[in-house]
């Protein structure tokens, strides 16, 4: 219990960011929905089109909607210039506003349609202009219903805003995604409790305003409004009120190693006097984009990932040649700097339980080809979409009976429980040794090299102090050290926090 308290108390930044994001999204939703509703009340065609569009948006999963704004904003850079942010607050705001649109729009249109026609005729009859009628009659009579819509929108938006974490916006989703990654239920619970609590408070306050509007009690209306304003104001203060020095933003994709390495780099930078911030839980493609566009400053990425996914290469050169080409490519395409290798490799591989592999006489992926027809292969949601998987499948002619997606953590449990026979594993994962797993050999070299490398955004790469602060990490981390650190946060018992694991790792490599 006290652990959850502790976790909750650490969520101040995320809470403030979450409140601001949700409030801004709802405000934008209102700003778009209300004029649209007025227009719709004058034109059935507009009404149908607007409601149809808003309903369609609702059917898109929130996670996908958030991710979709990345390419949309990227293409909009042609119009608005390179300064347009493609990650973080802006796309999260736009996606969530679209999400908030439907309940507000629907309630506003319904409220207008249900206004007593006798009252509207009388308003015209006493000589009201269009705007007077809107302001003096339609708006006050529709207000309680519109408020009910805003209330629904607020609850949805606050819930969906947790997903903004995945596109690099700080939110209460940060602890949820970090916790899910490592089965750290305290973190997950803390994130859920905080966002649910926020939703309940917002619902209560907006409900008070709604009641005030309905019963025409100004005390309730203005009291509720004041409380909302106070909450948003406090969040603003917490978010922007502190020091305005620039923080170095370190990105991390959504798995343990990335969280730990981000902390390790962050701790090095802090020792050199920088202040840092973390953007955790980024999708693989999003993370790379983020560092090349300067949305984040530092990222640990993997040579093979960039080679196959960003550069779309299918050949497989030796590791030094590959790194050189990657560094040149990053410089040419975006000006991103490749600082160097951390020392270990985190390759994709196929893993089986030792006994199972031994019993079936499988040592390499080539051996697997014959047995695959009766096996289930598991992978994280990205795995089966990646070119590496496709290349390996075609190279060895693998035809599995079934394919299942797991989150990285659950994948290892699935292997133990027999729900998967083979999984797409990461070679630096601490659970490979701990769980007694065999990484199958890759005799044909279908998987490229996956050296962990540090990328610096175009703006950060030229900063000598930052480079110097991170430099001691180069070549310092071998795969054993990384596996131990990963296991220390992934294991079921006696989990370390990412920051603790990073400190231990620093000690181990003698920093």
């Amino acid at each position: 219990m006290s652990e959850i308290w502790q976790a909750l108390l650490n969520l101040g930044d995320q809470l403030a960011a979450h409140v601001l994001l949700s409030a801004a999204a709802i405000a934008l939703g209102i700003t778009v929905a209300l004029p649209l509703a007025v227009w719709a009340s004058r034109s059935p065609a507009v009404s149908r089109a607007a409601l149809g569009f808003a309903s369609l948006v609702q059917t898109i999963p929130a996670l996908a909607l958030l991710a979709l704004f990345f390419p949309i904003l990227l293409s909009l850079r042609a119009v608005f210039g390179e300064g347009l942010p493609t990650l973080g607050f802006l796309p999260a705001l736009l996606a969530l506003s679209l999400y908030a649109l439907l309940p507000i729009l629907r309630n506003a249109i319904t409220a207008q349609a249900n206004l007593d026609p006798g009252v509207i005729e009388a308003a015209d009859g006493v000589g009201m202009t269009f705007w007077q009628r809107l302001r003096l009659v339609e708006a006050p009579l529709s207000a309680p219903y519109i408020m009910a819509g805003i209330r629904t929108a607020a609850v949805w938006t606050i819930g969906a805003a947790t997903l903004a974490t995945t596109i690099g916006q700080k939110s209460l989703g940060d602890p949820i995604f970090a916790g899910l990654q490592t089965q750290n239920w305290v973190l997950v619970l803390a994130g859920c409790i905080a966002s649910a609590g926020l939703a309940l408070i917002a619902d209560g306050l907006l409900g008070t305003i709604e009641k005030g509007l309905k019963t025409r009690r100004r005390v309730l209306t203005f009291g509720g409004l004041a409380a909302v304003a106070l909450g948003v104001g406090a969040a603003l203060l917490a978010n922007f009120g502190g020091s305005d020095e620039r923080r170095i933003v370190i990105g991390a994709k959504g798995f343990s190693e990335q969280y730990i390495l981000a902390r390790l780099i962050g701790q090095q930078l802090e020792e050199s006097g920088f202040s840092v911030d973390y953007r955790d839980g980024l999708g693989s493609a999003v993370a790379h984009r983020a560092v090349t566009t300067g949305a984040i400053d530092v990222l640990v990425d993997y040579t093979g990932t960039i080679w196959t996914n960003q550069m779309r290469r299918e050949d497989n050169p030796p590791r030094d040649a590959m790194l050189e080409e990657i560094a040149a490519w990053e410089t040419d395409t975006s000006g991103t700097h490749v600082l160097g290798r951390l020392g270990f490799e985190n390759a994709y591989g196929l893993a089986m339980r030792d006994e199972r592999a031994a019993a079936l006489g499988i040592e390499s992926i080539a051996d697997l080809a014959g047995a695959a027809g009766g096996m289930t292969v598991g992978g994280d949601p990205e795995f089966f979409e990646r070119p590496e998987w496709i290349a390996m499948r075609d190279t060895y002619g693998l035809r599995f009976a079934e394919r299942r997606n797991f989150s990285p953590t659950f994948m290892y449990n699935a292997l133990q429980s027999g729900e998967a026979d083979v999984i797409g594993a990461y070679t630096s994962d601490g659970r490979i040794a701990a769980d007694g797993l065999t990484i199958l050999e890759d005799p044909q070299g279908a998987f490229p090299n996956y050296d962990a490398i540090v990328l610096l955004s175009p703006g950060t790469g030229s900063n000598a102090a930052i480079r110097a602060a991170i430099a001691p990490l180069m070549g310092a981390i071998d795969v054993e050290a990384m596996r131990e650190a990963n296991l220390s946060v992934d294991r079921e018992e006696d989990k370390l926090t990412f920051a603790e694991a990073a400190r231990r790792l620093a000690d181990r490599i003698g920093l």
Binding site: G118, A123, G127, M128
Partner: protein, 255 residues
């Protein structure tokens, strides 16, 4: 200033159609100042539509309506509507405003604030207690609400009062009392009044002049006296026959 012989209101070949329906066809007539005119006719005969062409709640397709010398089409809409008091069949009190605010709404739109004393005076005109000003409309009876509707129509000191079945939803006793009260106000304030009604007896008892509408046209234009004497044509006489037969039967019962 309006000269004595200028018409308060004049319809010049006014026509209005809704799609295939010819709601008002070629209506021409003149109404003198201070006349109390009743407009009767079957449901759907075009009474409301004709009334609405005056303050342009319905826009005439052809012809024109002249109000105190000005074609209504030439007057700015808000100004026109403030000069014409209108009482709606549905009453149409604004439910989120007090009785007092409802009464003061017309002048307020013109940027003028009605004093509480003036609101009390208007309430008194329709025989309501001045204390009612602070009540919400939903705390009133139907009869009280329609009285407020009349007070609101009178708040802008109009010369012309238009009433569309103002007493339709009221019980007979209140209806009779309110009818008499409105006629008295008409006389006291020197109004020109047009009242739409289904009830020929009401028209005969209150009005100086009765217009009968049928399928969009005025088919009779008579004084109550001449209608009772059998003039005005078949449609009008059919309507007069109803209260007359009722009166006869009542007289028989009383014997």
């Amino acid at each position: 200033m309006i000269s004595e012989d200028q018409a308060a209101l004049e319809f010049r070949a006014v026509g209005k159609r809704y799609g295939a329906v010819e709601a008002v066809r070629e209506v021409s007539l003149t109404i003198a100042p201070s006349q109390f005119v009743a407009l009767v006719g079957a449901s759907g005969s075009g009474k409301s539509t004709l009334l609405k062409t005056i303050n342009r709640l319905a826009k005439a397709d052809s012809g024109e309506v002249i109000y105190e010398g000005d074609p209504v089409g030439s007057l700015p809409l808000p100004a026109l509507r403030r000069r014409v008091g209108y009482v709606f069949q549905s009453i149409g009190l604004l439910p989120h405003m007090t009785v007092g605010e409802n009464i003061a709404i017309g002048p307020r739109l013109a940027g003028e604030k009605l004093s509480p004393a003036r609101i009390a005076e208007l309430l008194e005109l329709v025989e309501l207690d001045a204390g009612m000003a602070t009540r919400m409309p939903d705390a009133l009876s139907g009869g009280q609400r329609q009285r407020v509707g009349v007070a609101r129509a009178l708040a802008g000191d109009p010369h012309l009062l238009l009433m569309d079945e103002p007493f339709g939803a009221l019980d007979p006793v209140i209806r009779d009392a309110l009818g008499v009260r409105v006629r008295k106000l008409h006389d006291e304030l020197g109004l020109t009044t047009i009242m739409v009604t289904h009830d020929m007896a009401e028209a005969l008892l209150l009005a100086d002049r009765v217009l009968v509408m049928d399928a969009g046209a005025i088919v009779a234009d008579e004084t109550p006296q001449s209608l009772l004497e059998g003039r005005g044509g078949a449609v009008a006489q059919e309507l007069v026959a109803v209260p007359r037969a009722q009166a006869d039967r009542l007289a028989e019962l009383a014997r």
